[in-house]
């Protein structure tokens, strides 16, 4: 029955407030608001204080996530659902948020220099995380849209947080194209509502089970939903903004975007496509598979020709989105596809953040650029890094090898599981393409190592400035490196946790 009609024929049901179900989200919202007020009322609060408060908020949310770990229910009349995807995504997102906080806290100013980054970046980070966590938990297309907009708006502003022209340009591009794609998503939601009479994923799932209905209208909506999600996870051909934006934005924000947006985007992708629209898998699978092929190959091929590390990482993140799409394509028929994708997101988030952390570290080595265009992230700046900064180079090697998918590191397992799920779902051809793409990708990851380990630094080494004290960045780097190695050596527990994410409540 039409939900509007339903509302009037019954006495007004008072909404049951399930505080516990959304406790982590509430914690994030409260923390964000508190940080906003701190920024407003205490303008001289240092970045350390703000970062500490942010981390406290994240810790509270994490504690509540753990408290809620075994909760499985649909809350707020189907607005959010607590299931494996939700809790796994919550955990990963909060960890990513903590690392991003450390990176942001470090900033790019050195001792004695004023910081260009505004203090608002901390509350915005929390709001962005709130949007992401909500997106991962949303079980109603309306909530999906609102959550997506919360995270997008926060990211637009964060992308342009510094006065650098490149950052401003990145923010503008991201905003314009993001708004454009949101329009598609919204139209998709409208068409889905029109076709099924509901925006609730469970009810949409029921509607897809009706064999008599002509699904064309719904499929058009599904296609537009796919456009919106594919844009967020930067899949080809909706990827063009990614390199420009990652290159232009401040490195901490780029890292956050690369890691966290993917986690949230794929969580909702899995929930909507593998969950609610699982009945239509025959129709949408070619779309996702086609996008996966394009994404993997275009991402890898274009990464090869880059000479800027941030830009290269952007293309690399595009090709990783392609591998994840293999997981999504498999997920509707093979539950392992869900767990493989979630595990992939976990490992990918730490690897890519780690890589960006090294970028942030290296960008501090050169003299601060006067033209204020962008950050120092050209491959040139990495020549001979191993001799000057063996630790940074060593960590860079760990992240690059993990991104390549070389066995003892976490990235290998991620690929391995996703590819296995693909084969299990009968998408062997797709896996073949994925393997070929991952082979191409080794080319550019290892090139970074060649530059760092085999080449002599250019110019006068004396011109290099000290990176300054980087306690926050150091901790973040250590954590990311440790996680990447540790997950590689002992992936079992995390895979088991991902397995529990296989059941989608809708």
């Amino acid at each position: 029955m039409h939900p509007l009609a339903q509302a009037t024929t019954q006495p007004l049901p008072l909404p049951e407030v399930d505080w516990r179900a959304i406790a982590p989200e509430l914690a994030l919202a409260v923390a964000g608001v508190v940080l906003l007020l701190v920024v407003a009322f205490w303008p001289r609060a240092g970045r350390g204080v703000l970062a500490g408060l942010t981390l406290a908020g994240l810790a509270a949310a994490a504690a509540l996530t753990v408290w809620n770990w075994d909760l499985e229910r649909v809350a707020f009349e189907g607005a959010v659902s607590l299931d494996g995807i939700t809790r796994y995504a919550r955990a990963v997102l909060l960890a990513v948020g903590a690392l991003a906080t450390l990176m942001v806290a470090q900033g790019d100013s050195r001792e004695g220099e004023p910081d260009d980054s505004p203090p608002e970046v901390f509350p915005l980070l929390l709001f962005a995380l709130l949007g992401m966590v909500l997106l991962a938990a949303a079980s109603d297309l309306l909530v999906v849209f609102i959550a997506l907009e919360i995270l997008s708006l926060s990211l637009y502003v964060m992308a342009g947080e510094t006065r650098r022209l490149a950052a401003q340009e990145a923010a503008m591009k991201y905003f314009l194209l993001g708004a454009f794609s949101s329009a598609f998503l919204l139209y998709g939601i409208a068409l889905c509502y029109g076709a099924t009479g509901s925006t609730n994923l469970l009810e949409i799932a029921d509607a897809t089970g009706d064999p008599t209905a002509d699904g064309t209208l719904l499929l058009a909506g599904v296609g537009l939903l796919a456009v919106g999600f594919l844009f967020k996870v930067s899949a080809v051909p909706f990827h063009m903004w990614t390199p420009d934006v990652y290159q232009g934005t401040p490195t901490p924000v780029a890292a956050f975007m690369a890691a966290a947006t993917k986690v949230a985007g794929f969580a909702v992708f899995l929930r909507v496509f593998a969950g609610a629209l699982g009945g239509l898998v025959v129709s949408w699978r070619p779309v996702i598979a086609g996008a996966a092929v394009l994404t993997m190959l275009v991402g890898a091929a274009l990464a090869v020709v880059q000479t800027d590390l941030k830009r290269m990482l952007a293309y690399s993140s595009i090709s990783h989105a392609g591998y994840l799409l293999v997981g999504v394509a498999a997920a509707a028929t093979v539950p392992a596809g869900v767990s493989a994708s979630m595990f992939y997101l976990l490992t990918y988030a730490f690897m890519v953040m780690g890589a960006f952390m090294v970028v942030q570290y290296v960008s501090r080595l050169g003299p601060p650029d006067d033209d204020a265009i962008g950050e120092r992230s050209s491959l040139e700046d990495y020549r001979g890094l191993a001799r000057r900064h063996p630790w940074a180079a060593g960590l860079l090697a760990v992240f690059m090898l993990a991104l390549t998918g070389i066995p003892p590191l976490s990235g290998f397992w991620a690929k391995y599981y996703v590819f296995l799920a693909g084969i299990e779902a009968g998408l062997t051809w797709l896996v073949v393409v994925a393997v070929i793409s991952s082979v191409i990708s080794a080319f550019f990851y290892l090139r970074v190592l060649v530059v760092a380990y085999l080449q002599e630094p250019v110019g006068d080494p004396g011109a290099e400035t000290a990176p300054g004290r980087t306690p926050a960045l150091g901790v973040a780097l250590g954590l990311a490196g440790l996680l990447t190695v540790a997950i590689g050596l002992a992936p079992e527990a995390l895979i088991a946790a991902a397995r529990s994410a296989e059941r989608i409540l809708g």
């Binding site: 314009l176 058009a220 070619p286 066995p407 296995l420 290892l446 380990y453």
Partner: protein
Amino acid sequence: MLFGQRLRALAGWIATLAVAAAFVVALAAFFELLSHPGEERTQILRGYEWFTSGDLRVAFDLRWDPLSALMALVVTGVSSLIHLYSIGYMEHDERRETFFSWLNLFVASMLVLVLAQNFLVMFLGWEGVGLCSYLLVGFWFNRRLLVVNPLGRLVEGEPDDTREVWAPPAAKKAFLANRIGDVGFLLAMFLIFATTGSLDFDVVFGEAGALAAGTATAIALLLFLACTGKSAQFPLYVWLPDAMAGPTPVSALIHAATMVTAGVFLVARTHTIFEASGTAQTVVLLVGAGTALLAALIAIGQDDIKKILAYSTVSQLGYMFIGVALGPIGYAAGMLHLVTHAFFKAQLFLGAGSVMHGNDDDTDIKHFGGLRSAMPITFWTTMAAWAAIVGVPFTSGFYSKDQVLAAAFEHGGIGLLAWAIGVFTAGLTAFYMSRYVFLTFFGERRWPEGRHPHESPPVMTVPLIVLAVLALVAGFALTTFTGEGGRFQAFLEPVLGAPEEHESLAAAAGLSAAATGLAAVGAIVAWLLYVRPFDWLALRRRWAGAWRPLAEKLYVDQVYEFFTVNLGGALAAFLARNVDQRGIDGAVNGVAELVGSSARSGRRLQSGLVRSYALGVLGGAVLIVAFLVFRP
């Protein structure tokens, strides 16, 4: 600081001792293994459990059986000698501690590869050796590096060379070939898991016989694709000669003795899978034989001593593949050739390194001659290895090559073709190897004025002597203590299976005579051409039509280059120009444009890029929606 300096000086010794210790441990474990009866000689070390979930159990399990013991002994033994040699060879390199750490990393990876008990651990080693090889080949390239991006922005190097995409070309080639091979390994691994549900060797090999023929063929051929990359077989062999650009000990260790034999080892290790597919075995046989012949021909045309040895390695690897493609009768022969080749080819490379060391790093064979008296130890040890590779009776190469050829003959059918090619190639081998030693050590002195060739220090010559002795006696020692196929075969039988009873080896004597005779002819021709006072360069000019193709490596590289560099470069440039418009320089342009427009945010849209991005989004949306609405 002082301590650091001293440590740097000691780096080579520390690394050498570490590998030597590994060798001692391997030796002890080997004798422990021998104390068990044949059937119980497979021990599995249940190592660190990577994880178990569901039906998949992956652990860092190691396997100690005759095959892996053999490989481990060869790897650690030869490595110890080469490490020792490197102390002298790399004495003046300022980054020698880096060199030794990578060399050690290589040995560790190689051990992981040969000791693996499942495909995943093996893949770990497989990738590890590839990575080290890549790094070590590129070790010296920072001296004359060419980094040119596809859009032609030169970072360093020749200003008009825009073909090289980014890295030292040799390392790049090695990398590409190996990555193509890795596709094979990965896909084979997925296929194995998809069909047998496990990656553990025991489980997989237990089910290998029950595989459908098509599946077995697919897995075997994918594995063999990996082998052609790692072990430099046709069509992926082209990287190995180029990899000679690395330091010579690297060539000796990685590109002659150990890593390149990993493919042979892989076929032997997974022999049950290959046995399940006759097609795959035939392919291996033909590729091995073809590569042996092709590389031997090209070796004749080379003037660079390391290139000659590199093509020789490719050719000898071909022999090994012939051996392991033949089934149980050939496995032991192929593995024996692997062992003996490790000794004599390592010696040859180290000898070549010694020659280079004493001749200002010159590698052109035309600039040597008569070095016999200047570097006697190098000369005599190289002659020992020469005897082995040429197949002088009772040297190690004689036994191993002979056994491979005998097995091929016995195998019959397509094996006869391999046998014929092998015998003919033996003649070619004798010719080009003789050419190498004659032009280097015999005849008149051709080195330029002012050069004073000198013998290398003991730290380099001791390994030469040890390897030379091994090259002479290893074959005899390993085979002739017992009859019937030899002790070596019996040792490997628990792993590789016993051949069916074969007829008396009466014919074998005749067969070896054929190969030995042809080799003698090759050596004599080389003597006539290169040792007698004879203007062989004039001969070469007269027969330029025949010479050119050999010198030009039969044009295989050119064909590849056309496809990879021209087409690949064009594709990359096309992508950079048309798909990623900002590409490499675009980012700067875009910003410059912004600066020009005084950074008013509204103007930014005029750059046109955002519009084209939006068009991309729109185009994708139309495609997707149209596909779903008007679905077929």
